[in-house]
Amino acid sequence: MSDAPLLDIRDLGLKAVAGPLVEGFNLTVERGEMVGLVGESGCGKTVTALSILGLLPHPAVQVSAGRILFRGTDLTTLDEPAMNGLRGNRIAMIFQEPMTSLNPIMTIGDQIGEVLALHRRLDGAACARETARLLDMVGLPGTSAQQGRYPFQLSGGQRQRVMIAMALACEPDLLIADEPTTALDVTVQAQILELIKEMQERLGMGCILVTHDLGVVADICDRAVVMYAGRIIESGKINALFGAPMHRYTRALLDTIPGANPPGQDLPAIPGSVPPPGERPSGCAFTGRCSAALDRCGTDLPPAINRADHHVFCWNPAS
């Protein structure tokens, strides 16, 4: 079992009433690896992350196909008590909005303590000590005064540190961070990313970083998966993926970043917008916006092209 990847998602499909949200999603995450899951709003990255934790909004979104193997166990077949034993324990998640994901009427000490009591059976002084250690670890003073504070008394960055302390309370094997810095200022973003990276390395966790920010992925991930309209369109090691993107969408995303262009000049914009679920073509969903689309692109699903650690789904790849 130790040979199996930490997380192995095979041919995952997620569907809602309006139509399929995610199709044919494959991803493996090894221990100690940081994988970026990138794409624009509505591409299915958050719902994919939620499906790993069994947190899909029921019954609106359901797993329609595939398996999610965590250390060899298929998470889609587990019942609720078994999932509860894993969630927050072996698999933890950090959410985007630290204000709404913390309980506003519970002190942060109690919120971290709750995780410790539930999964590690700590109470009393041992629990307080461990809470203090966790707060120290994420760069907040672990004093009892600090533990007695409420979320509203903390800044956005401090709240996100508390979220990270909670997520790390059981030293999880897999950490999923969904836009962990999107709501934060750029200076605080740099602090939090550094903290996540440091913790990931120290604890040897596998980590999935869900984000729309390609720059963040380039800075801290080992590998990334680019999604478009519910499907993976390209994946690979950061250098290969961003250095020589093969899919026109990845390339267009990189080209349209202001920092990659001479100031004041028109940005190479991607015309049109992402087709919503239910209106996606039967072939490649990027066809309508692609500069190099062939006749078959709109009708036939593109094949996988594999070059070493770099994979693309395209009929007419660049380079």
Partner: protein, 324 residues
């Protein structure tokens, strides 16, 4: 060339619950030239939105002047203020909250024309839709039928309805996906080329600000700490805060980081306007802090030795070496 908009010593203080003053804006001065885009950057709570709203006179300044042509907006009231607003318009961050969900696009874009009694409304609305790249069929539809990027186009059309001279854009592209963001940035740049529109472009995203701005002001604790041409600011930042901000920008994927932008991770949090440190307001987070910084607040001074006379920086030790 004389300035279109001239802001002098602008101050805006609020009162918190206990009646203590919250100094959101402290002595801000700048000139906006015709056709110029001035970028305003800073962290949340630095006063950049307050600046935009005060210049628009959505807030009444505590003191200072805002000269637009012959009129001082800071003191204008009633009919005069209303007339002046035809020349200065705003685009907000949230294209969902900024449009009345029960009004058709035609009504939304046409409303400023009604308020200001302009003729030929229908024709002007058609023209505006063209200008921002929306189809004529959009006129009869409601905001919820549009995507975020299209809604921002509607908001821009409305801001342009009265042919203003100045647009204040407060985080106008921040809520948009990167591919849509570049469409809107292109639109704003095109409007500037076409109509010589001036803009105050407020954003927390430094690379976006760099892209569109001619000059950039960096704000901290309600005041400018550095003010320079966009290129000069990015190539050779003088204020330690500017340097830290620039270094925190994530890399451009596929490109190496510029050498002078070695990462400086600032300690501590964004400033709390109700809790102002002594001396230089940035000193508790500064990597180059010295004794003088803890006691004496630096003035925003012209930097000698620079090629550009208008380069300003508020630091006792501008250009100080980075952290070891």
């Amino acid at each position: 060339m004389s300035a279109l908009l001239s802001v002098r010593n602008l101050v805006k203080h609020y009162r918190d619950r206990d009646g203590q003053p919250v100094r959101a804006l402290n002595d801000v001065s700048f000139d906006l030239m015709p056709g110029e885009i001035l970028g305003i950057v800073g962290e949340s709570g630095c006063g950049k939105s307050t600046l935009g709203r005060t210049v628009m006179r959505l807030e009444t300044p505590t003191s200072g002047s805002i000269r637009l042509g012959d009129l001082d907006l800071s003191r204008a009231r009633g009919g005069k203020l209303k007339a002046a607003r035809a020349d200065i318009q705003m685009v907000f961050q949230d294209p969902f909250g900024a449009l009345n969900p029960r009004h058709s696009v035609e009504t939304i874009i046409g409303e400023p024309l009604i308020v200001h009694g302009r003729p030929d409304r229908a024709a002007r609305v058609r023209q505006l839709l063209d200008l921002v790249g929306l189809p004529q069929a959009a006129a009869r539809r409601l905001p919820h039928e549009f995507s975020g990027g299209q809604r921002q186009r509607i908001a821009i059309a409305r801001a342009l309805a009265l042919s203003p001279k100045v647009i204040v854009a407060d985080e106008a592209v921040s809520a948009l996906d990167v591919s849509i963001q570049s469409q809107i940035l292109n639109l704003l740049l095109e409007l500037r080329r076409e109509f010589g529109l001036s803009m105050i472009f407020i954003s927390h995203d430094l690379s976006v600000v760099r892209h569109v701005s001619d000059r950039i002001a960096v704000m901290y604790f309600g005041a400018f700490v550095e003010y320079a041409g966009a290129g000069a600011l990015f190539d050779a930042p003088l204020h330690p805060y500017t340097r830290a901000l620039l270094s925190a920008i994530p890399s451009v994927p596929g490109k190496a980081r510029p050498r002078h932008l070695g990462r400086i991770v600032l300690k501590g949090d964004v400033p709390d306007p109700a809790n102002r440190p002594e001396g230089c307001p940035f000193h508790p987070r500064c990597f180059a802090v010295r004794d003088q910084c803890r006691t004496t607040p630096p003035a925003l001074a012209v930097q000698t030795g620079g090629t550009q006379p208008e380069r300003l920086c508020a630091c006792h030790f501008p250009g100080a070496a980075g952290p070891a």
